[in-house]
């Protein structure tokens, strides 16, 4: 018999649990500006190291450095700051509305605002987005009315979704924002199909999709990766690695042995890893991937390295599974604070202006909320008529659904 040890089963565990000191020692962070920026038509096999590095633009002094600096104008950066602050204020208000019983459920994107708002700036307005449930900033930054978003959250009579969906499951064809599913990852291969259709038609539009790192464990992630690679689809596949899938740390999704960006290597297309709390870095990577897709060089996988600042949803209590101060220990800070300090460093912004903008956003959200609540909330007021429940199952309502509607008397 060979002298081998008995087998042991490995169950990944995070570095810190409640009561422990928050720690991200495992996160090796290369200095900002240190990662090279290859040309967008680069052969994917030559840039595999980028999947294990981290593209950063803003350094410790909030200066934009290195080859990935997108050199955005101060106006664009101020606009980005505005939408990130708008999203945070909106999230704060809707979270409280849920706590007050005005709706059933809510999900904040606190800390992750840059991971999708940067795309609203880097993509064309008609590039098609297939979001998950934490990309509300993208919709706001594309100019979707906040009032309509609140009507959706409240399932009131003005909800364009006719009160059918869980709060935050927005949809807007006009804003090239695909109807959000509650089933994880289903939109990833759908985005690939949309991109294939665009390529088939000789269009110029590309597609982008978002999932969390936890969802990379779903089969649909791999279907998307394979189909995107096989047909060289013009699509950007984003994995928001916010460290936590409800209570499971990213190691449970497979983040311990390798990075999520490196999943692209086996499929043969670029996998870029980017500081998701650095608006300028996310913008630069989105711009790079979009240019690559638009020039028929195919898909890019982007791992947006960030941290979920709040609970998974209003139904979650993160203090039960992670240190309560963990977000403070996040080595890559807060995307709003970092862009603010960058603009101040350029002499294009000030603490006073920032405070005023914060107030303006709080007022905007409060006033909009009053308007939405004047229509109704899940608790009361004007709600969609029950008859609408029977609409849109099919283009034309068949006899059996018509009969059921008659039975209900609506």
């Amino acid at each position: 018999m060979k002298n081998t040890p008995t087998l042991s089963l490995h169950i990944p565990e995070p570095e810190a649990r409640p009561g422990d000191e928050a720690s991200f020692d495992r996160s090796a962070l290369p200095p900002a500006g240190s990662v090279p920026r290859p040309p967008t038509d680069v052969c994917a096999t030559t840039i595999r190291d980028l999947s294990f590095s981290l593209i950063r633009v803003l350094d410790e002094d909030f200066k934009a450095v290195g080859p990935w600096n997108p050199r955005l104008s101060p106006d664009v950066m101020r606009s980005a700051l505005r939408y990130m602050m708008m999203t945070r204020a909106y999230d704060e208000r809707m979270y409280r509305a849920q706590r007050q019983g005005k709706t059933s459920f809510y999900m904040k994107s606190t800390g992750e605002e840059a991971t999708n708002i940067a795309y609203a700036f880097a993509l064309h307005r008609d590039d098609m987005c297939f979001p998950a449930y934490r990309q509300q900033g993208l919709l706001l930054a594309r100019g979707y009315p906040m009032l309509t978003m609140m009507n959706q959250v409240y399932s009131n009579a003005h909800d364009p979704g006719k009160g059918r969906n869980l709060p935050v499951m927005y949809s807007s064809r006009e804003h090239s924002f695909f109807t959000i599913s509650g089933n994880l990852g289903t939109q990833f291969p759908q985005a690939v199909g949309w991109a294939m259709a665009s390529a088939y038609k000789g269009d110029t539009r590309i597609a982008a999709s978002w999932i969390g790192e936890g969802t990379t464990a779903e089969g649909d992630f791999h279907q998307a990766m394979n189909f995107a690679a096989v047909y060289r689809a013009p699509v950007i596949l984003n994995v928001v690695n916010n460290q936590w899938a409800i209570s499971s740390f990213q190691g449970i999704a497979g983040g311990e042995a390798s990075t999520f960006a490196s999943r692209a290597i086996g499929y043969g297309f670029p996998g870029l890893r980017v500081d998701g709390n650095d608006f300028l870095a996310v913008y630069a990577v989105a711009e790079w991937a979009a240019e690559r897709a638009r020039n028929n060089h195919g898909p890019t996988l982007v791992e947006l390295y960030t941290y979920r600042g709040e609970g998974h949803s209003t139904s979650d209590d993160p203090s039960r599974y992670r240190p309560s101060d963990e977000w403070k220990a996040w080595p890559l800070g807060d995307p709003i604070e970092r862009l603010k300090r960058h603009l101040i460093g350029l002499d294009e912004w000030s603490d006073e202006k920032h405070a005023a903008l914060g107030q303006e956003m709080a007022d905007l959200v409060r006033d909009t909320q009053k308007e939405a609540e004047a229509v109704g909330t899940l608790q009361g007021g004007e709600q969609p008529s029950p008859g609408t429940m029977f609409e849109d199952v099919f283009e034309e309502t068949p006899w059996h659904i018509r009969r059921q509607r008659q039975q209900m008397g609506v």
């Binding site: 364009p160 064809r173 665009s198 088939y200 189909f227």
Partner: protein, 337 residues
């Protein structure tokens, strides 16, 4: 008019639609250069080009998901799932996505998707190449389920499915691809060319979804069937020597309730025939519909003839398959009440 078997009729439907509508794409495993394992897409790539009819990775979930994305873009994809037994990896995309996108987006997005898939037994396919999963789809709000039983119907129904703006599961009874198999497995199958329904127009025509067809008029008992079982039911009627009215449903959702009710009100008796397992099969829904709509006209209990509630066996194919003798037995019992 041309004489076609069901494979040729389906091929003709795809050819017509690829020719008429640049938004129609055909793809699936082995469907491109090779033309599909059952030859339904033969010659389409050569005629219409690589990007109109192409091979996919072996990933049913991916095939359907990609087609959903294409549908959202505005294309009209027609995908093939090589065997209905392989459709389960795509079930989430079909049920949670294709079927729900119109509803959850309140009509902003919809999926004009057709999923073709050969189904059913009688070919010695064992448990992984013989299943009849129609009830898994008829149970889901937001998808239509269609089953042809002849070349003429296959082409007209497939064109309707492709032109429909909602997702359609198009189940092809593979046992009758080449001829109207009536369940007499010990006898040679008559080819479609000897059957009037093999006369198929070469151009575009449609058979509406939701319209059944009375394939044999009769006064004594109504037989509800679809797919291969239409031919088995006709043979069962002959064996029993009863005056059965055989209705080919053609479309399971939406189902043609008017034709069913008119027939059962006339005959007062009803036998339901399908290959799929009996428990929670589509026959249970048909039985309930007949009971709810025709109770006071019924002279006898409704009977179901179905596959046994076991996986589909290989060696005991013909003991499992609900052949004409089992249909005839049920018919005799029903008319004797």
């Amino acid at each position: 008019m041309a004489t076609m078997n069901m494979i040729q009729a389906l091929n003709s439907a795809l050819d017509v639609m690829l020719t008429r509508d640049a938004n129609v794409l055909v793809f699936g495993e082995d469907v491109g250069y090779f033309g599909g394992v059952f030859r339904v897409t033969e010659g389409l790539q050569k005629k219409h080009g690589l990007t109109r009819c192409f091979d996919t990775p072996i990933g049913e979930a991916g095939i359907v998901a990609v087609a959903i994305g294409m549908g959202a873009y505005g294309l009209r994809p027609v995908v093939e799932i090589q065997f209905a037994d392989y459709i389960y990896p795509a079930y989430d995309q079909i049920v949670s996505e294709a079927a729900r996108i119109r509803y959850r987006s309140a009509g902003e997005f919809y999926v004009p998707l057709t999923i073709r898939t050969p189904y059913g037994g009688g070919i010695f396919g064992g448990q992984t190449h013989s299943q009849s999963p129609e009830a898994l789809f008829t149970h889901v709000a937001g998808i239509k389920t269609v089953v042809p039983s002849s070349p003429y119907d296959a082409k007209g129904l497939l064109i309707s499915a492709i032109e429909d703006n909602d997702p359609v599961i198009f189940l092809e009874p593979k046992r009758i691809y080449n001829g109207p198999f009536n369940g007499r497995h010990d006898q040679p199958v008559i080819p479609w060319s000897k059957h009037p329904a093999s006369e198929v127009p070469e151009g575009h025509y449609k058979i509406p979804l939701g319209k059944a067809s009375v394939v044999r008029e009769g006064a004594q008992v109504t037989v509800l069937a679809y797919g291969t079982m239409v031919h088995v039911a006709l043979e069962g009627v002959a064996e029993a020597g009863v005056d059965g009215e055989v209705i080919d449903l053609r479309s399971l959702v939406p189902v043609d309730i008017d034709t069913i009710v008119a027939s059962v009100e006339k005959t007062g008796r009803c036998v339901i025939v399908h290959e799929a397992t009996r428990t929670s099969g589509y026959g249970a829904e048909l039985s309930a519909l007949v009971q709810e709509n025709c109770f006071f006209h019924l002279e006898a209990p409704i009977e179901r003839v179905a596959g046994w509630d076991t996986p589909y066996p290989h060696a005991h194919e013909w003991a499992y398959f609900p052949g004409p003798s089992r249909v005839a037995e049920a018919l005799r019992r029903t008319v004797e009440v």
